[in-house]
Every structure is written in structure tokens, then in C-alpha cells.
């Protein structure tokens, strides 16, 4: 009687193991991890009928086929599916039919050794239910660096789409004129320069605190060119304090060109662009000091700013200057919006350079950007619609094929 009771308990606990015979895992494959710089191997195999809480997989690695093999992972057989890896559908089959395991290092004699590129490693798998064990055959692979990151395929496609859109519109803009909506801040530029001339006070133009490779600085320098042209015609003085040497030397060139094209090369002064310091707050202190002493009638803050935005514009406001700001530093926009007379918000800064210069290339770019925005809006629309539809119908699996194209990996 007692033995039957024991057998019953045993059957209850180990029922699964009895019902499913352990067999060696099928379709075991080792391969270099795709889309990476190397040093990682993957192991995949088919999910088996005995996969459950009670059956464990143990993965072993060795540097030679004969061993010694080192254990590198042990986990429940109902985990580690290919579906766990959040990779896009075009690069990885997210399925619960196959298991996968990632190996980047192993522990040998108490030390963790990373996998080496180009070196062949041997892997095997052990299935155990705590009583019985079944071994797989030994498979091998070597890690290597890959040449294309397939996960970034949608990124590449987006880049190509944007490139085509923008270049196409630039080419088209050269042929015919485009419409641009009004930007009030820009209408005010003329007024500001005019006022400075009347009052006989200088104009301050700041190009932001980023280097020449940032888009906002480039836009800022183009605007500087246009402003300088007007300043030269009116015969006012412009001062551009700098915080980056390369931006300074580019701006010198641009200001000079502006004076030449306005027909006033004689009025150009080499030291209208001058360097203060690279350091954020000493630059700010110096510019604040200059503004309070020279009392400019107009201040332009174009480009990228950090905390100095309010320090500059509030001092500008206190001396009663007309202030026009433009920045794509979205964290500083609130301060410019509240303290300046006019503010170019985000992309408007880029638009401003096109608007002022009436340059067909810049106008075409703007048009291209608009189409790009339309494209993104379309993507958001379709994506959201599909995601909602997928949730309602429960067909998320199919929908995710499309949604993956809108995701970053």
C-alpha cells in the first residue's frame, strides 16, 4: 500500500517526464551572431515536445572537439525562444518553435574569457529532467565581424527615401519658385536693424554655443550673412562674440562676403567677429557685461543654446533691446519665447535661412522637409491604425511585420 502511494506521488511530480521521453534536441545549429562586430555565437535548436518547467537545458562550450567542455548556461526548457529576441521580422524569425542561446564568453579556471573572432568553438547541449540526461551532438562555429547590420535596414531605407525627396525638391526648386508661409519673427529683423540705425547703437548677433558641424550653427551663419548684408547697407555696427574658434573664422568670412556684396567693403571691420572664451558661463558673463555697457538696440540669438539663453535674453530685455531668437534647443525655447520679442521655434530656424536668402536650394530643401514630414505623418497614421486594428482583431503577429518598419532596432 505504501509503495503504491509513493508511486502515485512520484507519478504526479514526475508525470511530465514519464509522458515524454527525453530525446536529443533536433536541428541544433551553432552560428556566428549576425549583424555584429563579432565575439558572439548563437545556438538554436527546435523546441521539443518535452519542453516544460521540469526539464532543463544545459549548454556547454569547448575550444576543441574533444573537450574539456565548460558549462555556460542552464535554463528551463520552456524559456529562451527565438521569439524572445526583439528583432525585426525581416532579419529574425520570432517564433516559439525554436530555442536560441547567446554566447559571448565562458568561464575557464575561474576567469571569464570572451570569445575570439575567427576561432572555432564547439558547443553541445544536454537535456535533463533531474534524473535522466540526454546529450546532443557537438556543433561548431566561429564568431566574426559582419559587414552589414540588417537590423538597420529600415534606417537605411529611410535615409534613401529622405535623400531622394530632398535632392529631388532641390533640383525642382531651381526651376520654379516655391511658396513659403510667413514667419513673423523674420519680418521683425528689418525693423530691428532700422531701429538700431536710428538710435546709433550696435547690433549683437550670437551664433549659439555649438560647433560648426551642428545644423543650428549652419542656419545661424546663413542668417548672419543676410543680417550683415542689411547692416552694411544701413551703415550700422554689428558685433558677433564667439565661443568656438572655427565658427568664428567661418563667420568672419561670411560677414566679409556680406559687406562686399552690399557694396560696402570699406565698412567691414575684421574685429566685428571676436572670440571670448570657450567656457559657457564666462562667455555669458562677458556678453552680459558688453551688452549692459554698449546697450545694443537689437540682439539676435540664433543657433543652439544651453542655460545661458535666459541669462542673455533677460539682460537684453533689461536694456530695452529688440530681441529676436531662434533655436532648435527645445529645452531653451520656453525662455526665449517668454523674454524675446520674436522667437523662431525649432525648425523655423532652418526655414529662416531659406526665407531670408530666398535661395532656391534652401527653399527646395524646406519643401523637401515638408514632404518628409508628410511622410512621417503618414507613417504615424498607418502605424497607429494598424496597431489598433491588430489589437482589436488579435492579429498582432501579422501587423507586426508592417510595424517593425516603424521601429528602431
Amino acid at each position: 500500500m505504501r509503495s503504491i502511494f509513493h508511486l502515485l506521488i512520484f507519478l504526479l511530480i514526475e508525470g511530465q517526464a514519464f509522458s515524454q521521453e527525453l530525446t536529443p534536441p533536433k536541428e541544433l545549429k551553432a552560428f556566428d551572431a549576425p549583424y555584429d562586430s563579432g565575439n558572439v555565437l548563437y545556438l538554436t535548436w527546435k523546441g521539443m515536445p518535452y519542453d516544460s518547467e521540469k526539464v532543463d537545458y544545459i549548454v556547454y562550450i569547448s575550444e576543441s572537439e574533444e573537450g574539456p567542455f565548460f558549462e555556460i548556461g542552464r535554463f528551463k526548457s520552456n524559456t529562451h525562444f527565438k521569439a524572445d529576441k526583439n528583432w525585426p521580422a525581416w532579419a529574425w524569425k520570432r517564433t516559439t518553435e525554436y530555442h536560441y542561446f547567446e554566447i559571448s564568453s565562458f568561464i575557464k579556471e575561474g576567469k571569464e574569457i570572451p570569445l575570439e573572432n575567427g576561432k572555432t568553438y564547439f558547443l553541445k547541449l544536454l537535456v535533463t529532467d533531474g534524473i535522466k540526461q540526454v546529450k546532443s551532438n557537438v556543433v561548431s562555429a566561429f564568431p566574426k565581424g559582419n559587414l552589414f547590420n540588417l537590423l538597420k535596414l529600415n534606417n537605411l531605407i529611410y535615409m534613401i527615401i529622405f535623400s531622394v525627396i530632398i535632392l529631388w525638391f532641390i533640383a525642382r526648386a531651381k526651376k520654379r519658385e516655391l511658396f513659403l508661409r510667413k514667419i513673423p519673427a523674420l519680418e521683425a529683423i528689418e525693423e530691428a536693424i532700422g531701429r538700431s540705425t536710428e538710435m546709433g547703437r550696435p547690433i549683437y548677433f550670437l551664433t549659439g554655443r555649438l560647433g560648426m558641424s551642428s545644423v543650428s550653427t549652419i542656419a545661424s551663419t546663413i542668417i548672419l550673412g543676410e543680417v550683415a548684408k542689411k547692416v552694411a547697407t544701413y551703415g550700422t555696427e554689428i558685433k558677433v562674440p564667439h565661443t568656438d574658434p572655427i565658427v568664428m573664422s567661418v563667420c568672419q568670412e561670411i560677414t566679409k562676403q556680406a559687406y562686399i556684396s552690399a557694396g560696402r567693403p570699406d565698412a567691414y571691420r575684421e574685429d566685428s567677429n571676436f572670440f571670448i572664451t570657450e567656457d559657457q558661463f564666462s562667455y555669458t558673463a562677458a556678453v552680459d557685461g558688453l551688452m549692459v555697457r554698449e546697450k545694443p538696440a537689437a540682439c539676435f540669438y540664433m543657433g543652439y543654446y544651453y542655460a545661458e539663453s535666459l541669462l542673455l535674453s533677460e539682460v537684453g530685455a533689461s536694456i530695452g533691446a529688440i530681441q529676436i531668437a531662434g533655436t532648435d534647443a527645445e529645452h531653451q525655447l520656453p525662455f526665449f519665447v517668454t523674454t524675446c520679442d520674436y522667437t523662431l521655434i525649432g525648425e523655423e530656424l532652418y526655414a529662416a535661412s531659406a526665407y531670408l536668402s530666398k535661395n532656391p536650394v534652401l527653399m527646395g530643401t524646406l519643401r523637401g522637409q515638408d514632404v518628409g514630414k508628410g511622410f512621417l505623418m503618414g507613417a504615424v497614421f498607418i502605424g497607429t491604425g494598424l496597431a489598433t486594428l491588430g489589437t482589436i482583431t488579435g492579429a498582432m503577429q501579422i501587423v507586426s511585420f508592417v510595424l517593425d518598419w516603424f521601429k528602431g532596432f
Binding site: 562586430s37 559571448s104 576567469k111 571569464e112 570572451p114 558661463f281 544651453y306 527645445e330 529645452h331
Partner: protein, 278 residues
């Protein structure tokens, strides 16, 4: 009435400055110890992640700030380290901001002393290295090659803590305490996106709103924003410190500004009403 309103609307800025100074100094000299503060989800994100780590797991911290951001980020660094050391995590710290080295070192050694942690075994300080993104990418490829020596000149491959850590892939969590650029976005773009570690952040209150989009998409799993965030973390740890004291000052100054704005609007309405009547 309108005259007074007009005068008050054009109040000398210096009077406002004086009021602000008073609003800061009074609670500083006589703290009122305001009641406890609520915990926001983003702060909890960082806390929960550290809480979920097991003893011996590796927390990587980059203290990317300089002394100007000290009031906000220093208490954060202290709290996170306290949390990590109390959970017996192994902590590796560095900075991408050259001027921040001295302070990062101070935070690290101060808290380590508090918890009697052993250098090289329980924690390490890598210091600073020029190159910003070069450093991040280098850490992602090979930590010991990027930092052959730690801040104190010890060889990293000799330190016990680095035994099983070859790159950023081997860390369990990374927290970036940042005051600007390079900061959380840099670590995301050049680090997390490639090497796939879990990233959390702490930052000054100024950049925090801009990081909400990243938070929502899970690009960062948590965010401690400003002194308020630091005070929340102190509350979570049950160890009130400097940030909590600062909360009094924030309360008085904020209420002062709110009062000023409401007053100025009342004055404004009064002057405007007059105009429409006329």
C-alpha cells in the same frame, strides 16, 4: 488704482531679486521640514531596477557633470551609490566631463567609506578619458583596453572587480548622471543602442522634460529629474539628506513666483479694464 497697478506692473526687477533672495535664505537658515513628497514613476524606474539586482551584479555609473550642477546631481550620486552599496552591488564609476573628475571621485570615495567597501573589489573609479564618444564606443568594445589604468593608476586587468567584465555588454545596469552634453543621449546613441545594456538616467531638471520622449519609448528605463528627483530618491531610501532640505527652498521660491505671476495678472487686468472703458 490703475496708477498703482501700473507702477506695480513696472516694478523694478531688483525688488523681485530681493524677494527671491529672501525666499532662499529664510528656509536655508531656518528649515521648516515640510512633509514627505510623492514618488514619481520615472524615479521609481531607476530605483526598482537597482532594487532588482542581486548582490555582486555590476552597476556602471557615469557622472557627467561639473561642479556647477552640483546642487542637483551630487545628492543623486550619493543616493544611488548608497543604494548600490547597501545592496552589495559592484560599482564602476567614471566621468565624461574632465572638470567633473574631482567631484565624482569625492562622491565615490565618500559613500564607499560610509559602507566600508574595498577599492578594487567592491568598487572602482575609472576617472576621465578624452574623446567622449570614442570612450563610449571603446568601453563597448573592450573596457580594459580603453581604460588600461584606473584613476589612481592601478592596472584595470589586475583589479578583482573587472575580472568578469570585459565590456559594457557585461554590466547589469548603467546610470548616467548628466548635466548636459555629452550625457544621456550620447550614452544612448553610442552606447546602449549598440551594446544593448539597460540604461537609466539622472539629470538636471532642465534637461529632464526633453528626455520624456526617450523615457516613454523605453530608450531609458528611468529618470531622476533635478533636486526634486534626488529628494524622491532619498525618500525611497529613507535617508533624508541635502536634496530633501532643498525642497523647502523650492517650495518658498515657487510659491513666491506663483504669487508674483498671479499678482502681475491682476494688475494687468486692472490696467486693461481701464483701457476698454475709455
Amino acid at each position: 488704482m490703475r496708477k498703482i497697478a501700473n507702477i506695480l506692473l513696472n516694478l523694478d526687477r531688483r525688488i523681485i531679486f530681493l524677494l527671491i533672495a529672501a525666499a532662499v535664505l529664510v528656509p536655508l537658515l531656518r528649515p521648516f521640514n515640510l512633509p514627505g513628497i510623492s514618488i514619481s514613476q520615472p524615479v521609481k524606474g531607476v530605483y526598482d531596477k537597482i532594487e532588482s539586482l542581486a548582490p555582486g551584479d555590476v552597476l556602471f555609473i557615469s557622472m557627467d557633470f561639473d561642479p556647477t550642477a552640483k546642487p542637483e546631481l551630487y545628492p543623486m550620486g550619493i543616493s544611488i551609490l548608497r543604494h548600490a552599496f547597501s545592496k552589495d552591488l559592484r560599482v564602476i564609476c567614471m566621468t565624461l566631463w574632465a572638470p567633473g573628475v574631482g567631484m565624482a571621485e569625492e562622491v565615490m570615495s565618500k559613500v564607499a567609506r560610509e559602507y566600508h567597501k574595498e577599492y578594487g573589489k567592491d568598487y572602482a573609479f575609472l576617472g576621465w578619458m578624452p574623446g567622449q564618444l570614442t570612450v563610449i564606443i571603446g568601453l563597448g568594445q573592450d573596457l580594459k583596453k580603453t581604460f588600461p589604468k584606473d584613476f589612481y593608476g592601478n592596472k584595470t586587468d589586475r583589479l578583482q572587480i573587472f575580472e568578469n567584465i570585459n565590456s559594457l555588454r557585461d554590466i547589469d545596469y548603467m546610470v548616467d548622471l548628466a548635466a548636459g552634453d555629452p550625457g544621456i543621449e550620447t550614452w544612448y546613441l553610442y552606447g546602449k543602442e549598440k551594446y544593448g545594456f539597460e540604461l537609466g538616467g539622472g539629470c538636471t531638471a532642465v534637461i529632464a522634460p526633453g528626455l520624456y520622449p526617450f523615457l516613454q519609448t523605453g530608450q531609458i528605463n528611468g529618470l531622476i529629474g533635478g533636486m526634486r528627483g534626488a529628494a524622491e530618491y532619498e525618500t525611497l531610501l529613507n535617508r533624508k539628506d541635502k536634496a530633501t532640505v532643498g525642497m523647502d527652498v523650492l517650495s518658498t521660491t515657487h510659491f513666491l513666483i506663483i504669487g508674483l505671476v498671479i499678482l502681475s495678472n491682476i494688475f494687468y487686468l486692472i490696467t486693461r479694464k481701464g483701457k476698454t472703458v475709455r
